[in-house]
């Protein structure tokens, strides 16, 4: 199918983009989740705000000990980042499971987060890393934890006029364990379950409406025996 008609604006600055966002507008980043929704007319915004021309949102940098990932950083860029591979290995491991190279060439880290699929790899890994999500609107800015941002399946606490602009990932102590494992029905598919480990924090994806962070498997209270066995095996592989 083809999308319903919409107006299209491609702002050059963040301030211009924020001025355009609102109830009936949708921000377009990589489009790998939004465009299928538009094609099937499951989403019918009257305005699409294309963020791809906005300057300053596509940088990966280190500030203090933290990693800062601009919301428009492509998944492929995260995958190729030496800084990430060296110090945030769990993120590097997780992103290689996101769909396929042709999708990662367009898909963005911020888009994965804002789409909030409960089985998505990057929200799971970022939850394990206790990432902070920097949000802007014309009304101001705020910083959310994963517990505050992820509200339910495909639901976040972002208001229609707000935009996720940057993800802040704290340093992981050298030598701390980091790993990621998932089980999917086919290569590149969303995970049936995924596990991300960073130090003492274990994040589970695909087992609850939002990524869950626990310190042990017992704490997760997985009642279904298949799911418990699957997650136990994934945790063994990730840790």
């Amino acid at each position: 199918m083809k999308p319903a008609p919409f107006d299209y604006v491609a702002p050059r600055t963040l301030d211009e983009a924020l001025a355009l966002l609102g109830e009936d507008a949708k921000p377009l980043a990589g489009g790998q989740s939004l465009v299928p929704l538009l094609n099937f007319r499951l989403a019918r915004p009257s305005l699409v705000v294309d963020l791809n021309g906005v300057t300053g949102l596509d940088r990966i940098r280190r500030e203090g000990g933290s990693l800062r990932i601009g919301a428009l950083v492509r998944q492929r860029a995260l995958e190729r980042s030496r800084l990430v591979a060296e110090h945030w290995r769990v993120l590097r491991a997780a992103v290689s499971h996101v769909a396929h190279p042709a999708i990662r060439n367009r898909g963005t880290v911020g888009g994965s987060v804002a789409h909030a699929d409960p089985a998505a790899e990057l929200p799971c890994a970022l939850a394990a890393l206790d990432a902070r999500f920097h949000v802007r609107s014309q009304r101001g800015s705020r910083v959310l934890s994963h517990g505050e941002l992820f509200v339910g399946p495909l639901q976040t606490a972002l208001e229609p006029d707000e935009l996720l602009v940057e993800i802040e990932v704290p340093a992981v102590p050298p030598g701390a364990r980091q790993g990621f494992a998932e089980h999917a029905r086919t290569h590149g598919d969303f995970a049936l379950a995924c596990v991300a480990v960073a130090g003492d924090r274990i994040a589970l994806g695909g087992v609850a409406p939002t990524p869950r962070v626990v310190s042990s498997l017992d704490e997760a209270h997985l009642d279904d025996p298949y799911r418990r066995a699957l997650v136990a095996e994934l945790l063994r592989r990730a840790a």
Partner: protein, 161 residues
């Protein structure tokens, strides 16, 4: 909206609706029907083209997003009528039957062998995992990638290294 896109080295000017998908722009406005449209949700890979040299799903991009950029389709793979080594290898190893998925495979795999050169079987299968073929079972496609990679490295055709 007025756009100008470099398609296979030729500038194409068009007036498109914002909702026009890049895949439809390529097929309908440019008349280049080698790019096939399968699922229109990014799953099948049939519509894969290269945007500034990188493979992307043309059904998940709007034509307006390609304004001022360069797009390469399967029609841009052959060099003045001479098939690309990957196209010849697909022919030789019977890597296609109905051919619907083939252009997507070619546009996905061409940069993979260009960038990485020597790929083992697992790497080849990972590289093509985002493209669906319902005819071949992928065996011929994997063989084609190996054959083309050998040729691009300058080794004799049809001989094991």
């Amino acid at each position: 909206m007025k756009i100008a896109v470099d398609v296979n080295g030729t500038r194409r000017d068009a007036d498109v609706e914002p909702r026009t998908l890049l895949s439809d722009f390529i097929r309908h406005d440019c008349g280049l029907t080698g790019t096939h449209v399968g699922c229109e949700q990014g799953v099948c890979g049939a519509c894969t083209v290269q945007l500034d040299g990188e493979p992307v799903r043309s059904c998940l991009l709007f034509a307006v997003q390609a304004d001022g950029r360069s797009v390469r389709t399967v029609e841009g793979l052959a060099d003045h009528g001479e098939l690309h080594p990957l196209q010849r290898a697909f022919n030789e190893t019977h890597a296609l039957q109905c051919g619907f998925c083939t252009s997507g495979f070619l546009m996905t795999l061409e940069p993979a062998i260009r960038d990485a050169g020597d790929l083992d079987e697992d790497e080849i299968r990972a590289a093509l995992a985002g493209n669906l073929c319902r005819c071949t079972g992928y065996v011929g496609i994997v063989e084609a990638v190996k054959l083309a990679a050998r040729e691009l490295r300058g080794e004799a055709r049809g001989e094991e290294p």
